[in-house]
Amino acid sequence: MNRPLCIAHLYPDLLNLYADKGNILTLKRRLEWRGLEAQVTLVTSSEEARPGDYDLVLLGGGSDREQEIVSRTLRRSRDEWKAAVEDGLPLLAVCGGYQLLGEYYQLPDGTKVPGLELLDMVTVAGSPRLIGNVAIESDECGTIVGFENHGGRTTHHHAPLGKVISGHGNNGTDGHEGVRYKNVFGTYIHGPLLPKNPALADFILQTALDYAGIDVKLEPLDDELEKAARTAFQVRRMNLSEVAAQTP
């Protein structure tokens, strides 16, 4: 019997704007359906998160104010996090959590909220907000679909998670979405991200299992419903936004 995979959901009390609960649930279920076990730890803002205790960490999205609190909390153990990421700690960061990975997030008034500086990346608040359905193409996991809603424009010098097929992506200009660095996955895509992107969910899980030293190769699951949801999304929603784009 393998030991359970330890998954940490960081600060669900502050960062749970776009149903990050769904991402955790997806990771948990997809392990269970293969006879594996997940041990999910909800780390609240009053607790100290120790990167060494986990095999996979999820950092979700929150409002600007809440993000600031999280940033302040996490920066106290910044060096520890930096070392863990360099060492290959699997980290999934969505929306606000994604922005926190960079050097800073510049607010509309010019104030720079310092990030964790784990990546060579900056985010600057812009207008209008970039909102809508989004689809990107990733080398590792094929097409990734979901919804984006962010004011920040993010630029970095790492590989993106994928190239934008439809939607805005990191900044609406360079055609990139998200970030991939070592075992870090950063993205603006929620909806939530993982239920409709089982290939990505499994890729992240496999990465985490390998990192944890759990000797398992994930077998494919019957993802009929997941595939149907992806197809429906691409047919109904991507076409619809093309029509919408043509209407003045």
Binding site: L25, G132, K196, L225
Partner: protein, 456 residues
């Protein structure tokens, strides 16, 4: 007199501007003439009031629907239940000479307002639906509410109609000292299981001892007694027994009378039971009450029942909090059921459907009584995925994106499962199309005598 003029003038002005006037005319009139309520109130022959924590509006509207069958009444329909709301309702039926044109008033009154207005109105019947705690004023407020209700009642000679299943209402009944009639559910509906709902008034108001329950209906409503003193649930004068959309009411030794309910949900069954009890006390006979209930228009998509085959209940869902209370209500409904969940993602629904993952659908995926689930709408597959990851068995789950086909599939499955009711949950833009479809299916079904008042 001046107050009446001012009030009527404001009323006229607002109606010319096509503004809803439920409080403002009364508020201004009361400022000018503080004794206005008494002046108009004394012209009434009788006044019936509905008060309590939850269900005032529905109860009052159900009762109004029945009473209107006999006589035109004055009623604060929009739930404007403070003094200015009552004054506005009265002004609407007052002539420029200050004469009231209707003689019966039915008022929904806020608990705290009751003692303020009780002396000014000829209150003959007073219904207290229940005494629950509001989320916000969690501590210490409950006793105050009970005291206010008592203070209000004591200023009247009304027949008090109280909830036998509510220990707090029973306390009011014991302390009132005048005529009290009780309504309550049949003991067959008692449940042993209770999820972690708050139990208000779980302590005996007479001696302070913890109450013991031989079963619960919902919340603190149940079959209670105090192990320390002689405080216990009274035998109700009106006993309700419900099955799907029918409520059978037994009044004393009289034969039971069965009513077709236009609303669903156990809390609405209580509302209907108290309204029927009050209507009986007001002297209405069963066929008149049934006729009134038939004409009752529930707000669209709030546990709205349709007499389709099998029965359907339509609910609007639009955010996690509202969705959770709907799921809670469905979960508390006894018996097997089929769910049909319609999710659209148009502008009026919100284009981002991630909220589905924040809502507590686990409440129904863990509920064995939900035998089948059909998802429909533009995001049918997303909803199905939510249920799958929530732990609902895929073999009982199907998705049919097209609304009409989805609804019909759910009805088909419900028929095949032994005519179990279908609970339809829908986001905004699918609600009206679904209501139309349900109306049409209910219409085709009319020969099945859904509406015939049965007196058995």
């Amino acid at each position: 007199m001046f107050g009446v003029w001012i009030g009527k003038l404001v009323l006229l002005l607002l109606s010319m501007l096509r503004k809803r006037a439920t409080s403002l005319p009364g508020k201004i009139a009361l400022k000018v003439s503080p004794r206005l309520l008494r002046k108009l109130g004394t012209q009434l022959e009788r006044c019936i009031v509905v008060t309590g924590t939850n269900g005032k509006t529905t109860t009052a509207r159900l009762l109004a629907a029945a009473m209107k069958q006999e006589d035109p009444i004055i009623h604060n329909t929009e739930g404007a239940n403070l003094p200015q709301g009552l004054a506005t309702a009265l002004l609407r039926h007052t002539s420029w000479f200050g004469r009231l044109r209707r003689k019966t008033a039915l008022f929904e009154i806020d608990e705290a307002t009751l003692p303020l207005v009780a002396e000014t109105l000829p209150i003959k019947v007073a219904v207290v639906t229940n005494v629950f705690r509001d989320q916000l004023d969690r501590y210490g407020e409950l006793d105050t509410t009970v005291e206010k209700l008592l203070a209000g009642l004591r200023k009247t000679d009304a027949v008090a109609i109280l909830n036998a299943d509510d220990p707090l209402a029973r306390h009011i009944g014991l302390s009132y000292g005048k005529t009290v009639l009780y309504f309550g559910m049949s003991k067959e509906h008692l449940k042993q299981e209770h999820r972690d709902q708050m139990r208000d008034g779980a302590f005996c108001m007479q001696c302070g001892h913890e109450l013991q329950y031989d079963g619960f209906y919902y919340g603190q409503l149940g079959d209670y007694h105090c192990p320390n003193c002689d405080f216990f649930r009274p035998v109700p004068d009106f006993v309700g027994h419900f099955q799907e959309s029918r409520l059978e009411v037994t009044q004393g030794q009289l034969p039971p009378v069965s009513f077709q309910l236009p609303v669903r949900g156990i809390f609405n069954v209580y509302n209907a039971l108290s309204a029927i009890a009050a209507a009986r006390v007001c002297g209405l006979d069963a066929s008149v009450i049934q006729q009134g209930l038939r004409q009752y228009q529930p707000p669209l998509g709030r546990m709205q029942a349709f007499p389709t085959r099998p029965h359907t209940v339509l609910n609007l869902i639009k955010n996690p909090t509202g969705c959770d209370s709907v799921l809670q209500a469905i979960h508390s409904e006894p018996g097997d059921k089929v769910l049909c969940i319609a999710i659209n993602d148009l502008a009026a629904d919100g284009k981002d459907v991630s909220w589905l993952w924040d809502a507590d659908f686990e409440l129904i995926t863990e509920d064995d009584s939900v035998v089948k689930c059909v998802t429909t709408g533009l995001r049918a597959e997303d909803m199905a995925l939510r249920l799958k990851y929530g732990g609902y068995p895929e073999s009982n789950l199907s998705y049919v994106p097209e609304l009409e086909a989805g609804l019909d599939h759910a009805l088909e499955l419900a028929r095949a499962s032994g005519d179990v009711p279908v609970y339809v949950l829908s986001t905004y833009t699918a609600l009206y199309p679904l209501a139309d479809l349900l109306k049409r299916r209910a219409h085709n079904n009319e020969p099945a005598a859904m509406y015939r008042p049965s007196v058995s």
